[in-house]
């Protein structure tokens, strides 16, 4: 058929024309089809580029913009006079960029020959290396010594990809002196990380672990800044798009006085114990010592395991802040409070006397004797003499007459048995003897004999030095309580004046009749001046001092015969001393507790006197001057 058509010239011409027409129709159809398809493709582009533009723009930015946070500089800590207690000092660390290192094990081995690398360093480095990109600089060694820097610098050519980088590290210039008050910062660990606001702390490596550093962590930390960085697909930063500077942490001014603190610690001469000096007018803690102490700088960049174990297991427990967490038997230091209670509750009048014969028996019970300190007793004594001489019999009978419920109710008003609420973490509650406490703790009934010994600060009593400081402060203010505190002022910015922290509104006095205060004060003045237990303490001091000694039995002595107290092993007594001055309008109160000593007057009182001597040098008489 094809042949036939081709052989006929007429047909062929017509056929060719026909074929051309048909082809043109098809070409047109094809073109329209293609135009339609391309229009469809264009519509798809329009849908992505216009319809979903916002979505894809956002995702494109998510791809390319990475936000890096810039950690803020931590706030500084000063004493009340501006002496630096915690600062940020420049230090140098060694950093390695893994992608620039060809043979890491060899590099580390070579580097170890120039700069000491501990196993801890290498372990940490390995852990970080696994979690970071190869182009990120990873710290290997912190706190390089000057000779290490010098040695590295001369051999730098050998270590491609290794660099010395400056950084800020926390330092405590007064080291041991304020270890318990200021505390220390340490690396953020897994337990910290769980509790932290991840955004606020991204980029931050350290956090307050103890003391003020922990208590005021959120003030000290500051607000991080951030940097929007353009990154490529490997997350390698290429340029900074936007930078918002961090806000440094606030500077804190504590109420403590570094000079008084130093004198206080020196006065301990290494004996384990604690001391607190406080301003009764407002509760500002002027000194807070806990002996022995430790160097907080050890903890900043990760304390070695051996060092830590040594500190933790030392028998004298240097890590314990005895001022707020050390438990002491108060002994006779509770007597002024009890004497005041006798008057306030109407159990005694100031002129009421008690006959001290050396032994005291609960009426109807002749088996057990409760003794005085002096064989044969003190004779007939009134309140003032009882306080001055620390006559046990007076307080045995007073406690018994008062009864344990009224006793613990009254003593509780001075804050015994519960934390004072000082702005420092780790405070203990102590023990205020009471029926409720004994039932809760031992599920046993209360015995009258326990009331008797509670009257002289023995038995279940446990106090902390800060509690005693708060109590003596309340005596000094005639019953007005000011919660002890350490933070005095806060400085928001380097160019701003420190703002004094507002004090809580004054609470009403716990005294119903302020006149009751006078005989107690008389007794306390007699303790240190007249023929009291610490006679001579108040000599050569510009103001009148009121005080009270305490010599507490670490274990019971009731069934033994009398011995000269000075001949008993020192370890047998906890000795305490409390005082305030000037007696009629106190501006300072001190508490000293030693874990071992002969008597409060012999061992604790001299420390207190040295504190007062130091304090009086700076006594401004003006209260809260900056």
């Amino acid at each position: 058929m094809r042949r036939e058509t081709a052989s006929d010239p007429r047909n062929r011409v017509r056929d060719v024309q026909h074929e051309t027409t048909r082809f043109r129709a098809r070409a047109l159809a094809g073109f329209l089809l293609i135009a339609l398809c391309l229009a469809g493709l264009g519509a798809r582009f329009a849908w992505l580029q216009i319809g979903r533009h916002d979505e894809f723009s956002a995702r494109s930015d998510q791809n390319r913009i990475s936000v890096r946070s810039i950690p803020p500089t931590r706030g500084l800590i000063f004493d009340r006079n501006g002496v630096l207690l915690a600062e940020n000092t420049a230090a140098f660390r060694l950093e390695v960029v893994p992608e620039q290192v060809r043979d890491m094990p060899r590099l580390l081995a070579d580097l170890g020959g120039v700069i000491a690398l501990s196993d801890d360093d290498l372990e940490r480095f390995d852990a970080l290396r696994r979690s970071k990109h190869a182009f990120e600089s990873i710290p290997l060694r912190f706190k390089l010594a000057e000779d290490e820097i010098a040695r590295f610098s001369t051999e730098r050519w050998r270590f491609t990809g290794v660099e010395i980088v400056p950084y800020l590290t926390r330092a405590y210039p007064l080291a041991e002196e304020f270890a318990h008050v200021v505390g220390y910062v340490g690396r953020i660990d897994a337990a910290d990380a769980e509790k932290l606001d991840a955004q606020r702390y991204s980029g931050t490596t350290h956090i307050g672990k103890t003391g003020i550093e922990r208590q005021y962590e959120s003030e000290l930390h500051g607000e991080p800044g951030y940097e929007q960085v353009e990154v490529n697909v490997d997350k390698r930063p290429l340029r900074v798009i936007r930078r918002v500077a961090p806000t440094p942490g606030k500077n804190l001014y504590l109420s403590v006085d570094a000079r008084l603190q130093r004198v206080t610690e020196d006065a301990f001469d290494g004996r384990a114990g604690a001391a607190v000096a406080i301003d009764p007018r407002n509760g500002e803690v002027l000194a807070m010592a806990s002996v022995p102490s430790f160097d907080p700088n050890l903890f900043v960049n990760g304390i070695g395991r051996v060092d830590y174990a040594t500190l933790l297991n030392a028998p004298d427990r240097p890590l314990l802040n005895r001022a707020i967490a050390g438990g002491y038997t108060p002994g006779s230091t509770v007597k002024p409070y009890l004497a005041l209670g006798g008057l306030e509750l109407g159990v005694r009048r100031p002129e009421d006397t008690v006959l001290s014969v050396g032994e005291f028996y609960i009426p109807g019970d002749t088996k057990r004797a409760y003794r005085d300190d002096r064989r044969g007793g003190h004779g007939r004594v009134d309140l003032v003499q009882a306080v001055a001489q620390s006559v046990n019999t007076y307080f045995y009978s007073l406690a018994l007459d008062m009864g344990i419920d009224r006793f613990s109710g009254w003593m509780g008003k001075f804050g015994f048995g519960k934390p004072t609420g000082i702005d420092l973490i780790g405070e203990s509650a102590g023990v205020l003897p009471s029926k409720e406490w004994k039932r809760g703790r031992m599920n046993q009934a209360w015995y009258p004999g326990e009331t008797v010994i509670a009257g002289i600060g023995q038995g279940y009593w446990v106090i902390t030095p800060i509690q005693l400081a708060q109590a003596i402060e309340m005596l000094a203010t005639r019953g007005v309580r000011h919660t002890p505190h350490l933070l005095r002022a806060v400085q928001d910015g380097i160019n701003q004046d420190p703002r004094l922290q507002p004090l809580p509104p004054p609470q009403p006095s716990i005294l119903r009749n302020p006149a009751n205060w006078n005989p107690v004060l008389q007794g306390m003045v007699a303790v240190v001046n007249g023929g009291g237990t610490a006679s001579g303490f108040g000599d050569n001091f510009p103001y009148t001092i009121a005080g009270k000694t305490g010599t507490a039995e670490r274990y019971s002595r009731t069934d033994e015969t009398w011995t000269n107290i000075m001949s008993v092993a020192v370890e047998r007594h906890e000795v305490l001393f409390e005082a305030f001055t000037p007696a009629d309008a106190a501006r300072v109160a001190v508490v000293v507790a030693l874990e071992a000593g002969h008597t409060g007057a012999h061992d604790a009182a001299p420390i207190a006197r040295r504190m007062l001597d130091e304090w009086v040098k700076d006594d401004d008489d003006g209260g809260r001057a900056p």
Partner: protein, 372 residues
């Protein structure tokens, strides 16, 4: 002698000016496209001059080849067609046996240069189909259709086996378009499409696992955002974030920061879309449509059936490149390795494309001199 020489030169110049070897609109459009391609590559390669010069050299080589081919009349090409086709099939067989290449066997190492026979088939298959149909009664019936089917299937299956699905699609399309332009009755087209639809499950069965994955990924790229869907998602982000006017030349972050994979080759269109926006895409698509239209016009004015079908199918196959590539980068079609003509980096496709346009120009030069 000197004067005679000058005289002959002048005569030649006049002749060329009267009836040029090349088609100015087509050449102009291709030149514009090549310029856009080089500018886009310069940006996509992050200002790598070396790479742009390389690509420009390929354009020059391809251009020279185009002008040489344009000088050879279609009648000569028609005579050589069966031999060229036969040679292509043989080379494809050789690749199947001896070929080398990463993962897929596509290349034949000729010692001096590596050569991809499938590129040759892009031209020789439409030539062969045109040659066959030229001598047959048109529109084709089932028997002719069957023979053409075999001619198409032979190289296409060899290429698909390499495996190179993209090129196989392009080669098959050029053959199919020749049949379409030959006037295959619409009802037959419908019947064939119906049969293909029915055979789809069978095709699925014969696909490679990775090819199936690409189809699966296309249907739901977010199901595996960092794995197989990554290319599509990053490409859509690049395109979509371009908006109306784009981010500007060399400001496309998706490519510059290397979020977009293969951004110099198969995904270069996404770079272009990101930097020039919908306006730029519109201009580029219009340019492609113009080239296809111009090619079909040349075909419509061609002297004989062979020239018509060849010119028409080359033009329409050109569109397939754009459609498959554009569909891929916008997530409409599966990821198959089809370059964007004259813009994607790479030599072989540019050279074979320009050789095809050389044929178009040859056909244009030898068009019917009769008025329509």
């Amino acid at each position: 002698m000197n004067v005679d020489y000058l005289h002959r030169l002048r005569h030649w110049v006049e002749r060329v000016a009267r009836q040029p070897y090349f088609d100015p609109p087509l050449l102009g459009a291709l030149g514009l496209l090549a310029a856009i391609g080089l500018a886009t590559l310069y940006s996509a390669s992050d200002l790598d001059r070396h790479l742009v010069v390389n690509q420009a050299l390929r354009f020059v080589l391809g251009g020279i080849l185009m002008l040489i081919i344009a000088r050879i009349p279609p009648s000569s090409w028609r005579k050589w067609t069966p031999w060229l086709y036969g040679a292509s099939v043989l080379l494809l067989l050789a690749v199947a046996v001896l070929g080398q290449g990463r993962g897929a066997h596509r290349w034949l190492n000729l010692g001096v240069m590596r050569f991809q026979p499938s590129e040759l088939a892009k031209l020789t298959l439409p030539m062969m189909v045109a040659w066959y149909l030229h001598a047959r009664e048109l529109p084709p019936r089932w028997l002719t259709l069957g023979a053409v089917g075999v001619l198409i299937a032979l190289p296409v299956l060899l290429i698909a086996r390499q495996p190179d699905l993209g090129t196989a699609v392009l080669v098959a399309a050029s053959g199919v378009f020749a049949v379409f332009l030959a006037g295959l009755a619409w009802w037959r087209i419908a019947a064939i499409l119906g049969a293909v639809g029915a055979a789809a499950p069978l095709i699925w069965h014969f696909m490679h696992e990775y090819q199936r994955d690409r189809l699966r990924t296309l249907l739901d790229p977010e199901s595996d955002p960092l794995g197989k869907g990554y290319h599509i998602i990053q490409s859509e982000i690049a395109v979509g974030s371009g908006g109306w006017f784009g981010k500007g030349w060399h400001h496309g972050t998706q490519s510059r920061l290397e979020f977009l994979p293969e951004h110099k080759t198969d995904f270069v269109f996404a770079v272009y879309s990101e930097e020039w926006g919908l306006i730029g895409v519109g201009v580029l698509l219009a340019l492609y449509l113009f080239i296809v239209g111009r090619g079909l016009m040349i075909a419509a004015n061609a002297r004989d059936t062979y020239s018509r079908l060849l010119a028409g199918s080359i033009s329409m196959a050109f569109f397939v490149y754009v459609m498959v590539n554009g569909g891929m980068i916008t997530g409409m079609l599966p990821v198959v390795g089809v370059p964007l003509p004259l813009i994607s980096y790479g030599g072989t496709s540019a050279v074979s494309l320009l050789a095809g346009f050389g044929m178009l120009m040859s056909i244009h030069r030898h068009r019917k001199l009769l008025p329509r």
